[in-house]
């Protein structure tokens, strides 16, 4: 069995009286692409925030490479080799590409002084590797001048620096053109080929279906389905299942994992 990069056990998160997550189990193995799907309000964003350490779970356990971790935080998550490309890209638009790529992980030498030239060098290397280069911008261009796809490139470049073991892509294809979407898919395949893992979150089920090895469907804060690629025949299967989950009783339960009574 492949090494388990990260595992969430019975993660719960409540905001006051409202439960965003009601006991989620999720794991990602080395070299696999996990597609996470779910309707608005299913708890996808909360789950990503917990994985990236921005939000702390109310209860539950987080295991990195089989070992439980204490004091989970954004910095700890990045140290563990988990990088997140957030839906809003999480870029500081008034800063240069370099400053964004090294945000929170500045290359410093003596007493915290920046290694400016090294940073520029590394940034151009990263941008070249993922094919986000252009004649009109340099590593020292301001991110606010870039297009949506180029900004996505900066966010991805930031994620692949330091050989992250797991890259979380939150709605990476939203608001991107067809060519830019193709670039993102190309990138996902590259990462898988290099033996690293991806958690791919998407609204577009066809996109997720095309790229993922395993699917996790989230519904109202719970995992409604976990299925391997071989178990799902087509994207329509997934869509039907999600409609089924969203409107229980409309169709007879076709799939495993749903406990109608528990939800009621």
């Amino acid at each position: 069995m492949a090494e388990r990069i990260i595992e969430l056990r019975d993660i719960k998160k409540s905001y006051g009286q409202v439960y965003a997550l009601g006991g989620v189990n999720l794991s990602v193995d080395r070299g696999e692409v996990v597609g996470l799907i779910g309707d608005n309000g299913a708890g996808k964003s909360t789950l990503i925030k917990i994985l990236s350490g921005v939000v702390k779970p109310t209860s539950g356990e987080i295991l990195v490479r089989g070992k439980p971790v204490a004091g989970w935080s954004a910095a700890r998550s990045r140290e563990a080799g988990i990088e997140t490309v957030f839906q809003d890209r999480a870029l500081a638009v008034q800063q240069t590409i370099v400053r964004n790529i090294f945000m929170g992980r500045e290359l410093t030498g003596f007493l915290g002084w920046l290694k400016v030239n090294k940073e520029i060098e590394e940034a151009s290397r990263l941008m070249r590797e993922i094919g986000f280069t252009s004649k009109v911008f340099t590593p020292q261009s301001i991110v606010g001048q870039l297009s949506g796809g180029e900004r996505q490139g900066v966010a991805i470049a930031r994620a692949i620096y330091k050989q992250a073991e797991l890259i979380i892509l939150d709605e990476p294809t939203t608001a991107l053109s067809l060519t830019e979407t193709a670039k993102v898919f190309h990138f996902v395949r590259q990462v898988r080929a290099s033996g690293r893992s991806i958690l791919f979150i998407g609204h577009n089920i066809h996109h997720v279906f095309d790229i993922a090895d395993r699917f996790v469907v989230l519904d109202r804060g719970k995992v409604a389905l976990t299925a391997d690629r071989s178990e799902v025949k087509s994207a329509d299967d997934l869509i039907n299942f999600m409609e089924d989950v969203a409107h229980p009783g409309g169709l007879p339960g076709l799939h495993e994992g749903v406990d109608a009574e528990q939800r009621a």
Partner: protein, 349 residues
């Protein structure tokens, strides 16, 4: 990225390579001078405002502006302002504001005066003032950041509170420090070299160090990112609150240095020490080209802004106008500078 992926890059999706290899990055301003101007447009704009203003003054009264005395008097008081203008650029870049620095100046220089009056070496007094400034900066910063208060209102409140404490305890009485003139500390920090007040050299060193801190150090990089997008900074593992507290501590230290210098210049500590600096210092930061919305700024621009603001008062009077014109010109320069910067800077948020 690992070597295993390299061959993939030659695919059509990998972007245009080959002929353009080695020259993928093309700056629109490949010429170094054009790049320099683009990168420093805010501070160069401020410099232009200063040059134009001085030209107008000189045309109005050429003879006064050739006398050294005029510049000497500005160079005596300007350093005090510089020590607070520069940290405030960090504060404003971080998306905050600090109105409590005048009281911190008064408080830290009071501690300095007490130590010197008690007969201790002025160096010890400077150290005590720096510790006081650091602690007050930490107090104000913690109140704003961990108390979750608006920095505008909370620091205004702290300014009144600390100044009030000084007034209550001193009941308006000043402290004369006559023995200061014979000390080593005075010779090093407040005497004259070739007729130039020596404190300006310390202030310039402080500006240069801070400009490096701002542009070439992790602290400056994180201050800018936090001011630009605090949510992203947090997501990338930056301790946003700590960075915010640090900028207030930096201002506290700057205010302590400024307060100590102002006492050394006058040989006297007044309970109102620092009060007059509030508005000119704030004006200098914004005249210097640091915008109000955070994320970007310029230390050198702020310093030039301070020079500009210092010269307004002296210049107006020296140009032969009555003192009643000073405020009018202050306002005019501020408004013109803001309009200039708005035209000069692209805003991305």
């Amino acid at each position: 990225m690992s070597k295993a992926m390299e061959p993939d890059l030659q695919s059509p999706l990998g972007g245009t390579r080959g002929a353009a290899a080695g020259k993928e990055w093309n700056h629109p301003s490949d010429h170094w001078l054009r790049g320099f101007v683009l990168d420093n447009r805010a501070s160069l704009g401020t410099l232009a405002v200063f040059v134009v203003m001085m030209a107008v003054f000189m045309i109005a009264n050429p003879t006064v502006f050739t006398t050294w005395y005029l510049y000497s008097s500005v160079l005596t008081t300007l350093p005090v302002a510089l020590f607070v203008v520069v940290p405030l650029v960090f504060v404003v870049t971080c998306g905050e504001i600090d109105l409590s620095f005048p009281a911190t100046m008064g408080f830290a220089s009071w501690v300095f005066a007490l130590v010197v009056q008690a007969g201790y070496d002025p160096f010890l007094g400077i150290a005590a003032a720096l510790v006081t400034g650091t602690l007050l900066g930490f107090l104000v910063g913690s109140l704003v950041v961990y108390g979750g208060l608006s920095s505008l209102i909370a620091t205004l409140g702290m300014n009144f509170l600390l100044r009030g404490l000084i007034q209550i305890i001193n009941e308006g009485k000043s402290t004369a420090l006559t023995n200061l003139a014979d000390s080593w500390a005075y010779a090093i920090f407040s005497s004259q070299v070739w007729g130039i007040p020596v404190q300006i050299f310390w202030a310039i060193a402080f500006v240069v160090f801070s400009a490096l801190l701002y542009n070439r150090h992790r602290f400056g990089a994180q201050v800018k990112v936090v001011g630009d997008n605090p949510d992203s900074a947090k997501q990338m593992g930056i301790d946003v609150k700590l960075v915010r507290v640090k900028v207030f501590v930096f201002t506290g230290i700057g205010a302590a240095i400024a307060g100590t210098f102002s006492v050394m210049i006058n040989f006297t500590w007044w309970p109102t020490a620092g009060d007059g600096y509030l508005l000119p210092v704030l004006a200098s930061v914004f005249v210097g080209g640091t915008p109000t919305w955070g994320g970007i700024g310029t230390v050198v621009g702020g310093a030039i802004g301070a020079v500009t603001v210092s010269f307004i008062q002296t210049g107006v009077v020296a140009a032969g106008l009555s003192g009643f014109y000073v405020q009018f010109f202050n306002g005019l320069i501020i408004i013109l500078s803001l309009l200039g910067h708005k035209w000069n800077q692209a805003r991305y948020r």
